[in-house]
Subunit: 147 residues, 2 copies
Amino acid sequence: MAIYQHILIAADFSQHNQQVLQRAHQLAQQHDATLSICHVIEDYPITDFAYEPMIGVDLDMRDSMLQSAKSQIAKLAQQLTIGTDNQWVEFGSTRHDIVRIADENNVDLIVIGSHGRHGIQLLLGSTANAVLHHAHCDVLAVRLQDN
Amino acid sequence: MAIYQHILIAADFSQHNQQVLQRAHQLAQQHDATLSICHVIEDYPITDFAYEPMIGVDLDMRDSMLQSAKSQIAKLAQQLTIGTDNQWVEFGSTRHDIVRIADENNVDLIVIGSHGRHGIQLLLGSTANAVLHHAHCDVLAVRLQDN
């Protein structure tokens, strides 16, 4: 019996992303699992809403960010032969929306990159950490060789 | 090529431990990897050293805890046919010593149980969280069904 049937990559666009993609791809092959990919753009308000005329710019900027992220995810997905139905790019809260996407699609393993963190970075936490705490399925943190 | 060659179980003795053991065992079989097991007893001073006569009791208590933990780990190891050379039970700091044992034995995947945490528990962190931050290899957090 396959241990994992649906593996979700929580991708970022760091230079180390390839390590996460490669590991998830190997695991999906080994477990004969479906592979999906998602990217959540943390939803901070970009402009100060006291300046009403900025709202238009804000919306344009959000749309531009979303299109850029979708295009990058599409390239990564193509590299891993992941179809369009298994790609999700959204604005939202990384910790909650990665877990929600996993839940909604019966994902049983989330694969995410993990950077070494020390001092204040450790206190501030990380996406991997947040996903680990909130996920309802297993989480594989791939150690990125950045330190 | 096998993705993981040496998988280390960071065991605790909770009722959910079997989920972690089973997952690690399945993965080790699937990856044809060596399987090891460790348990680190968090090293708090048990007694107040202002009371010198207590030191003897403290040492006895530590020894008794160590023996009990070794015996429990030996049972789990036997269940998974892990030899005595691949079992480690120590007093120390869970976050540092699990990572040290992994480093010293060329472990490339640590498997650890992860409890859902909320509120103050989230702030206090968890062993899985600490290991995730400090490990130099990949970490698989197995979601325990305790909430």
